[in-house]
Amino acid sequence: MRFNYLASLLLLSGVFTFTAPTSAAMQETSSAEPTTLSPDIDEQLLCTEPFCLWVQPQVCVTENAPAVCEETVSVSWRSETPLNACLAFDEKVLTCWRQEEVGTWLGDLTWFGDEILVLFTVEDSELNAAGEWRERPRRTGRNSRQQFLNSVEILASTEMQIQSLFPKARRRLGSPWSVF
């Protein structure tokens, strides 16, 4: 009668390494340690690539019918060479770094299953004195997310996923027992 799978949310973590400033050569591992919000030492040591990005959690598992995840998400990256980079979540820029070799961000995110967390490189001139990114003017509309992604140099990106244990459901249109 009852679902006995998990607690309401089980957090998984995702770790990505990149051999080049593209999204190629993606590796994913996962662990079920919901309290870990930054890459542990072992994971950091495992990063032997020129660029590594950790996102925790990257997938959430929910049993609820309207699948929505609201989690504190940790984003960390490390690069062999200093970078100008910004982190954006579903078009919204969360933070930027200027000439850094490591970066971390910790904050609350809400995702519905198809949002993209993207780290993109920026020119020095695109960052203002406060270190904020001056967004290029762009049209907003139906494909504004795609326009955004097309307009930036993506270093790494990952889709924030939801795995729902609840079967797909829809509203019933007819009335039960309505044969008469």
């Binding site: 729902s164 609840f166 509203r171 007819g174």
Partner: protein, 317 residues
């Protein structure tokens, strides 16, 4: 109560446990209703059932056994008794079958759904008093078999005929029709369903149409789950005239000829379900429908309302 309401559609649960599909792609759609989010399984599942949702790609079959009766409105018919009441539905992503209604949803959004559908028009069922007649459409074909109406010798004048009221045995057979139409369903709140459907006869039996507006509200209580429904149905001249009009096609005296007129038919119904076990529930339904003058004024019709009730035990397969 949470446990009780969680049992409202035990079939869905049984399948839900074994068909735990992982569906991240639908997440955004579902998340459009964050007020539904709950932290406990039971509450979520209870809400799921209270809100009258169905799991897609699953055949949902429930059968209730008990006793039910629909009052007769046509002279010469007895109340329609039934002992078994099925509830069968299958919903795909867009396609659906629901108790005889076959449809396809052409627009689905957070609170609205627009669908095209086709279904059996059950108006002919008032002309039968057997459940087989209801299901298989063998409504009485009195115009062909009746001999009582033949004028005989000196008795065969209209005065005698006028004493014989039109009834199901002496009027022509009314055929069943198939409707097709479009419906808009709106869900303004968790357990509230508002629907508007317009449908037309596509079997060329009467070429009439009807339009129905309904509001249904689920009310979970400690004594089971109640569903209150109000309906208002418009039936066109042609539809009413085909079934309730009397003309030369019918073997009755011309004095009884009647032309059916369009009607507005309000109806109220109350459904109750009380879970007994995982798949077993007590169910009860009661419905009253006002026929409207255009129908009730017909010499064939003996009442101005029709009532239906059922009490039984339902089992979910």
């Amino acid at each position: 109560m949470i446990f009780a309401s969680a049992l409202l559609a035990p079939l869905a649960f049984a399948h839900g446990q074994t068909h735990s599909e992982l569906t991240p792609e639908l997440a955004a759609e579902r998340a459009a209703e964050p007020e539904h989010t709950q932290s406990t399984n039971d509450t979520t599942l209870a809400q799921f059932n209270d809100s009258l949702k169905v799991f897609i790609n699953q055949i949902n079959v429930r059968v209730a056994m008990g006793y039910g009766e629909r009052s007769s409105i046509i002279r010469g018919t007895d109340p329609l008794s039934f002992y078994v009441l099925p509830d069968v539905s299958y919903y795909g992503e867009k396609f659906f079958f629901d108790n005889g209604m076959l449809g396809y949803s052409i627009k689905q959004s957070r609170r609205h759904e627009v669908s095209i559908f086709t279904k059996l028009n059950t108006e002919f069922s008032y002309f039968t008093d057997s459940i087989t007649g209801y299901w298989f459409g063998d409504a009485y074909s009195g115009g062909l078999s009746s001999t009582s109406m033949q004028p005989s010798g000196g008795w065969g004048d209209f005065t005698d005929d006028e004493e014989i009221l039109p009834d199901v045995d002496n009027v022509a057979k009314r055929a069943w029709a198939i409707d097709a139409g479009i419906r808009v369903d709106y869900y303004p709140a968790e357990r509230t369903h508002v629907g508007l459907a317009v449908q037309q006869d596509i079997r060329n039996k009467h070429n009439g149409y009807s339009a129905a507006f309904m509001v249904s509200q689920g009310v979970p209580t400690g004594l089971g789950n109640f569903q209150v429904k109000g309906e208002l149905t418009y039936k066109s001249d042609k539809l009413v005239d085909y079934y309730y009009g009397i003309s030369s096609r019918d073997n009755v005296a011309p004095i009884y000829h009647y032309r059916g007129k369009a009607v507005m038919q309000p109806a109220m119904s109350l459904h109750w379900q009380y879970p007994l076990r995982e798949r077993l529930s007590l169910v009860s339904s009661a419905r009253v429908m006002w026929l409207g003058d255009g129908v009730a004024d017909s010499p064939l019709v003996t009442k101005d309302t029709t009532t239906t009730f059922f009490l039984g035990v339902s089992y979910a397969f």
